[in-house]
Structures are given as C-alpha cells and as structure tokens.
Symmetry: C2
Subunit: 524 residues, 2 copies
C-alpha cells in the first residue's frame, strides 16, 4: 500500500540516457523534507543493538579496499541522495556509501561487514516503490552504480552479460543496436539497474510477451554475506547439472547477497509495433476481449492493459486534453499492443480481431494508432494514470495480483465501502476522497487499485486497511504483484504466504546470512 | 554419457494415451536381462549402512497409511517394472513400491522414512535417461502414478493445475480441447509425468518458443523429507512476496522433496504449424540461417533443429527410405518449424525468409511441408536419429550445451580422435566405430553427440572420456543440457559447476535432507 503523493523524484539528477515514450520526467522538489523512517515508524521498528556502529577505523579499512576517495561518500548532503527513496517517502541515516568498482571489492567489503556485524543495504538505481533499497537506521549503503560495464553480447544466441549497475535503458539501447531487446521494460528504465530489476524480480511492460526473469536470466554473479562469490555467468541456455541456485537471488530484494553481474537471454527486437485503444462496456467483456486477443493475436500480443472509465476522466482532467475515444464515456478501456516482424501481417490480424470483437458486441468503439506519435499518445492514457491519480493531493496505492474473474471486484468493493462511509465526492472538494480507480496489466492478473484523495487521514486508512489485504487473502491473491515487500510491506507477508512458506523463507535467510547483516528491518 | 543400446523399453506396457507424431513406439524385450546397477558399478558405489533395511513392520505401517493393498507392490516380477529404467540399463533392488493416492499419504510416508532412516527414490513416468528415478540398492520407490488428477484450468488466464502423476500427453490433450498448449513437449510425452518434467527441468521441443519451466511453472506442491507440505499452488502469474522457493525443486531430480502438484502457465495453442527442411553446406551457414530465422521468423519460430550429413545417411539406411532432399548429400541439414495463428502469414514469412537465405547462398536446397503428413515425415528425419544411431549395435551418447560458435567442433574433434585411432569405418563392419554424428536443438545451444558403434569396448571409451568432458569444460559448456545428472553423471558435476556452486548445492541438500533419505547415491 504505497501512499503519499508522488510529488517529487530525483531521476533528473541521475544519468538518464534517454527518456523512452513511456517514462515520465520527474523533478526534484527541494521544498519537501523527508522525515526519517526511524521516526515515522518508531513504534514498529527499533535499531538492533547487535549491529556495530560505524567507526573511523572501519572507514579506513573500506578506503584501503576501494583505493579512491571518490568511491566513499560521507558528506551529509551527498548521503541524502542515497538515504532517501525517489518518492521521498523513506529516509535512512546512513553515514557511509560505498561504491565499489569490482566484484572483488564487494566481496572484501561484505566479508569485513559480516566479520564485524556492520549492517548493509545494497542499492541499485534506487527506483524501488517499497523502500527496499534505503537504510532504516545507520546501515552502510553499498551502491553498485560503479559496476557499470557491459561485458558481452553473443549476437548469434542473444545472450547478454553485464555488470549489475548498468542502467536498464543503456542495456536496451546497446541491444537495440544489435537487433535485440531486453526482455523487460519499466517506466524507470532511465534510472533503474539491470542488477536491481533481477534482485526485485521486476515485472513491467513486457512480461506478457517475454515472461518472467526467472525464465530469461541465465546466470548471476552474486557476493554472499561472507564474501563468497557465487558465479553462474557462464551458464548456457540449457544446463541441467544441479540445483538452479541463481533463482534464490531473483526477487530476494538484497536480503541474501549482492548481485554484481547478470547474464540474460534476449529476444530478437520486433520490427513492427501496433497499438489499439478500445472502449468496452463491462468487465466481463474486458475478459472476453483478453481471451480473444490471446487466441487471435497470440504470438504478436505484447501488452494488454485495462483502465476503468473513472481513471480516464481523471487523466483527461489532469492532461487537460480530450480522450482519444470521443464518442462517449465508457466504463472500461483496453490498450492492446502487438510486436511482430511484419507490420502488414500484424495490422491484418488486429483488424480481423477487432472486427470480430465488435461484431460480437464486445467492443463498442476503438482506435488504432496510425503512426509512432499516435502510438505514444495512446500509451499516455495508460501511463499517465499514476500522475493523474495524485493530482488532487495524494493516493493510496495497492499493487496486487488477483485471479482474473475477481480482478475488478476489488475496486468495486473498495469504492462501495468508501461511498457507504460518505467520504467520496468525484467532482467537488467537499469530501476527502476523489474515487477508487482501477487499471493494470490484465494479461498478468495484476491490478493497480488507486484510491485518489484530497488529503491523507486515518479514517480513510481504516476504511481501506486491513479490508483490502483481507479481501486479497480471501481470493488467494498476492499483496505485491511486482513492487516487492521491502520496508513498506514488511508486516504483511502473511496475507500472501502460508506459515510453511514464511518459515522456509526465514530459514533460508538465517542459513545464508546468520548474522543478519543483509538489508535488515525489511520483510524478513 | 548415455551408453548402451536403446534396445527396448516398456512404454507400450504403460498407459500411453495417444502416440503423437514425434514419439516412437517402444517395445519390451523379455530376452534382455538388466544387470544390477550395484554389481555393474560395485567399485564406484556401496550401500550406505546408515540406512535401515526394510522390515515387515515398516510395510505394515505403510499399509496402514495407504489402506489399499493395490497401492503397495512387493511382488518380485512387478517390482522389476519400477526397479529398471526404460532403457533397461540400470536396475535397483527395491523390495517395495508405494503408490500413494494423496499428498497427505506422501507426507506420512516421507515422515516415517525420515524418522526411520529408510532411503527413498521418487519416481514419475520412469522415462529418464540418467538412471535418476531408479534405486541403486534397496531404496523404497515412491511412485506418484496414482496422483493423476487434473485439478483445474482457468480458461481466461491459461493457468493449469494438476497432480504430479498426470501423464504429459493427457495434460496436453486436455489443454488442446480448451485451446491451450502445454509449454513443453517431449518424445516420451505418452509416458512421462508433469511432476517428473518439473523435477528434472526437462527441456524438449518447445523450449525455443516457450522458454524454460523456471519461467512457466507458477507454483508447486512438494512434500519435504520431514513430511512438511510446501504449497505454492495458488500463486498467480505475478507474486513478489518473498523468495521464489519453488525454483529450488525444479531440476533437483528428487533429491530435495517429492513434487505432488504443479501449477503452470499455458500459452494459447497455435492454429498453424509449418515445417521446412533445408540443406546447408557449412556449419557457419547453419549459424547464419539461425540468426536470420530468429530475426525474420521471430515470433513464430518454434523449432530450429540441425543434423549433420552423416546422421541423415544413417537414418536413411535405417528407415530404408530416400532422403526428402534428393538433390545430393549435404554436410548439414536444418529443420525449421513455425507455429502461429495465421497460416497464410506464416507461409509468406517462411517463403520470404527462405528466398533471402537462398539468394545469400546460405541454403542450397530445401523443402516445405505441404500438409500434415509431409510435416510429420520431415520431423522423422530429426526424430529418427536416436534409433538410427543404435542400429549397428550401440551408441555412446553425450547431451551437452556449448556456445554456438563451437557447437559442432566437438563432433569434428571427436571424429578426428576416433579416426586417428583407426577404429572408424562408416560402411563396413571391419572396425568397431561407425561414426561420430551430431544433431540437436541449435536454438538452445544443445548438441547431441552420438558415437555410433558396432560394439562397446574399453578402448573406444578411453578415446572418448575424459576427452569429451574436458573439451566441454574448456569451452565452459554443460555436460548435461537437458537430461540431468542422475546416477549416470554423478561423478562429473565438477566439469560444469565450480567448487563454490557444488559446495552450495551440497549445503542446501544437507540443509533440507539432513538424513540423506532422498534419492541417495545420485549426483549429490
């Protein structure tokens, strides 16, 4: 439950190589001061006294390992950049950032920290949404930003190898030059790291087409808490010799080790992309359109996003533009993207599919992008929702997975609860809540429920929680489809995992990190 | 290194629901007696005295759990069926097969075995190629054959759930009726189990298109050695709440627990399949054709298999048929399969692609199947190679992954060594070796090196080993691309895994199975 106005970020301060059409510029607001996480959550979390406090002699040791003062950050203002998350919601109190240049240095640092009970937080692009890569107290931040070399691309097989700190967009641009595509895309691609997306098992926009990182990552280089370097970077597409150890680290959110290198299988880059935007009159019809698209567009379907009508009204209000479907307001909209190797074939498939869907009465109206500008514009109506959600003041955000049949019911039920409590007014400022809206990657069963508010207050929170978590638990859904648990959802894992699973996770954590130095106070 | 004439199997005795076009009928040869593994390998492996020997009281306990005498097998002749592998190369001496009907029964059985130090071997369809699912000594065989219910299919999302003992072909037929396809196909599909393909991380014919099971399996139900039931069957396509524990069991070959249930994401079933068979004059050209196919056929490419010229001559000799490409003998052949949703589009893409490839001089001749019969016939020239390889007497088989550039060099180097030793004669019976041939899933970097022989002898073996393993190690390849390690490759893991990786694998094994009751004497 991400909450807080997404007022400001600092992506613009970072090495953003190129904004892609789906990413939105963020800005840094100096006016806003971020409270310390330790103060905000003082009742929930205390510093564990078993961890050593940083001393000058420790810094001296790290300096001797890194051999360059630029690779250690101790200046208070400079530290803020790493202590705070990009939403400026969480803030740690670390006094030291280490930016090793080699895997060997990461190993020496971790071994020392483990031997001396110094807690650490691994950090990639610092673009997470759950406070997972920021310290809570005085943990040392180990940034992999200086591990930023592309290692190799096998242009026959598409196997790409790079350091963990390579920015996703840089990796994808390099692949594009060679006819390949990174099998994952994110709004934060200009800042997030390849290692970070693996550590968090990021989902994003290409999952429907290229599947999860558990399938596409072929090997990892990981430094374990005791300094051991695990290396499976040479793994080929097929290797059935023993347990697939790398899988443990994909999605472990920095609690088991620090990923320093990634080997990943990349598909050929599609040469034709098409987008259609449709108006649909019921959620049942949305599901039917999805089944039809999976069947008829099959191998070229690369995105199937849905948005409810209210999300589009809010987005139109925020963008001060007319909606692309002018004929009226519909309860649901669907964005379909195809990616293939032959534009004519793809267009013919889309037109046939849409013709059938309209004939069956599933689609009421629709538009197909005729050029790249229109294509980007249509995506704006999906990608602009997060910003539009916060325009009135703030948003309570829930990123969940639910079986498709029940997916939208959560929005309806949440809306009903809020309306019953008399706190909703969509048009005037008389009530604290604007509306509960829903949208998301329907192809992945992933709903974003946004409760758009004019102010934060405890009453709204108590209407929504634990109601939303209990609702998801009852439907056997997941309380975090793609954002992870991090600090934010540390107390909620039991809503999605059984006691046996939680015990096994804790057991593995203790097994690999008996001193608990890796990313403490987070979800384990 | 699979060796032994693949003379006979007993698939015909099992519930084979329907032979698909790629699977070959197997037969049971009563004449052939399989020696005990314990005798054949007496110098390499001894029974561990820490394991209890089965007593009547143990059987009584199991009878009380299973409540049906049909679920316990103690008859000597009936036991053979489970003690022997389908190649009739390995034979254990188990005196008891248990065939539980429920996961709860599996749990009670394992708990008892763990408490009493009774070693066990989990068994699925018993179609493995490395002796992984057969006992070595007197381990109790736990067959999941009675766990054979399809649990559910969500026709909107394609999420399919079933018991581990469901036969792959039955699962795929059920999916076909609903417009879906199991994302994995194997020659042994008429016998192998869904749980078994997960436990061994099977690769097979659809990997190029649908990726590995690590990406498509969404959840597992697994009984751990102490009887604990781990269950992630309700996982949705996206769930980022904690470590992805199920991954540990995918490819663990029954050494960590017994898989009892599988949840897997299934793609829409393609409605159009096309096959082209091409003659190519060099391995370099094969690689270029592959890169072109990946690019131009992109989203519809579902198989890219290559075969060398000698494999085709042997297959023609064995099938007593003319090769489909009549114009002459070429050094290499390629089979390309596409699967899509529109036959006209796919055919147009193939024709354009082949036209370009021929214009560039990459393809010398080729044929495209015009109907289902021709399609099956073309596949025969790839799928018939294993049988043809053994026609002269036997075959030394190596299933390896190698970076694509070097893939075929292993066949050349092995052939050169054999020729230098003067043991090869392709046409007459004067020498023990017919030839070293190569073929495989080039799309996956997976080569099958078959050394076809007229007899087994130590001299040939010493020419090939450790030469082949050292060669693969030097190229950083894998000694088992898809067959696993099992008993056969138990001593060779160090050729593909580093000391750190082996230590981590052993450590995890000891952590989850401290008594070592799960599938002992195998690769860990």
């Amino acid at each position: 439950m991400l909450r807080g106005v997404v007022l400001a970020s600092r992506a613009a301060l970072r090495p953003v190589s190129r904004q892609n059409s789906y990413s939105f510029a963020r800005f840094y607001s100096a006016a806003h001061t971020v409270p310390f996480t330790a103060d905000t959550y003082s009742l929930k979390v205390q510093r564990d006294s078993k961890y050593k406090k940083l001393e000058e002699s420790d810094i001296e040791y790290f300096r001797s390992v890194l051999k360059d003062d630029n690779y250690l950050i101790t200046d208070k203002l400079d530290l803020d950049f790493y202590n705070e998350d990009w939403m400026r919601k969480y803030k740690g109190q670390s006094q030291l950032v280490l930016k090793p240049k080699t895997t060997e240095q990461v190993s020496q640092i971790l071994k020392y920290c483990n031997d001396n009970l110094l807690a650490v937080v691994p950090q990639g692009g610092n673009t997470g949404l759950v406070g997972g890569s920021n310290p809570v107290f005085d943990e040392i931040i180990i940034s992999v930003a200086n591990l930023n070399n592309i290692r190799s691309l096998d242009t026959t097989s598409g196997i790409f190898k790079c350091d963990a700190g390579v920015i996703l967009e840089n990796a994808d641009n390099y692949l594009a030059e060679n006819g390949y595509i990174f099998p994952l895309d994110l709004g934060a691609k200009g800042s997030c790291h390849v290692g970070g997306v693996c550590a968090t098992n990021a989902g994003g926009l290409r999952l429907l087409r290229y599947g999860s990182l558990h399938g596409s990552v072929l090997g990892l280089e990981v430094v374990l808490p005791d300094g051991t370097i695990y290396n499976s970077m040479n793994a080929l597409r097929k290797d059935n010799t023993g347990f697939d150890l790398k899988q443990l680290f994909i999605g472990s959110e920095g609690t088991l080790g620090i990923i320093t290198g990634v080997s990943i299988l990349c598909p050929s880059r599609p040469t034709a992309t098409n987008v259609a935007f449709l108006a649909v009159s019921s959620y049942e019809a949305v599901q039917k359109v999805f089944v039809g698209a999976r069947k008829e567009l099959s191998e070229i379907l690369s995105a199937f996003e849905f948005m409810d009508g209210k999300s589009q009204i809010l987005t139109a209000r925020h963008l001060k533009t007319d909606h692309p479907i002018e004929s009226g307001q519909y309860p649901f909209y669907v964005l379909i993207e195809t990616s293939g190797s032959n534009r004519d074939h793809d267009m013919e498939k889309i037109e046939t599919f849409l013709g059938n869907a309209m004939e069956e009465g599933l689609v009421d109206d629709g538009i197909i992008a005729q050029d790249e500008t229109q294509l980007r514009n249509l995506w704006t109506w999906r990608e602009g929702i997060p910003e539009a959600s916060t325009a009135a003041g703030g948003v309570y955000k829930y990123d969940v997975s639910i079986p498709l049949d029940d997916l939208y019911k959560l929005v309806e039920d949440a809306s009903e609860r809020l309306n019953a409590a008399g706190v909703v007014d969509f048009d005037s400022d008389s009530k604290p809540v604007v509306e509960a809206i829903g949208y998301g990657h329907i192809g992945d069963g992933n709903l974003h429920l946004n409760v758009c508010v004019r102010e934060y207050n405890k009453d709204i929170e108590s209407i929504l929680e634990p109601f939303v978590y209990e609702w998801i638990q009852e439907k056997k859904g997941s309380i975090s489809a793609e954002h992870g648990l991090g600090f934010q959802k540390r107390n909620y894992i039991s809503y999605s995992k059984s006691d046996v699973e939680i015990a096994m996770i804790k057991d593995l954590k203790n097994h690999y990190d008996p001193n608990g130095i890796m990313n403490p106070y987070k979800y384990i």
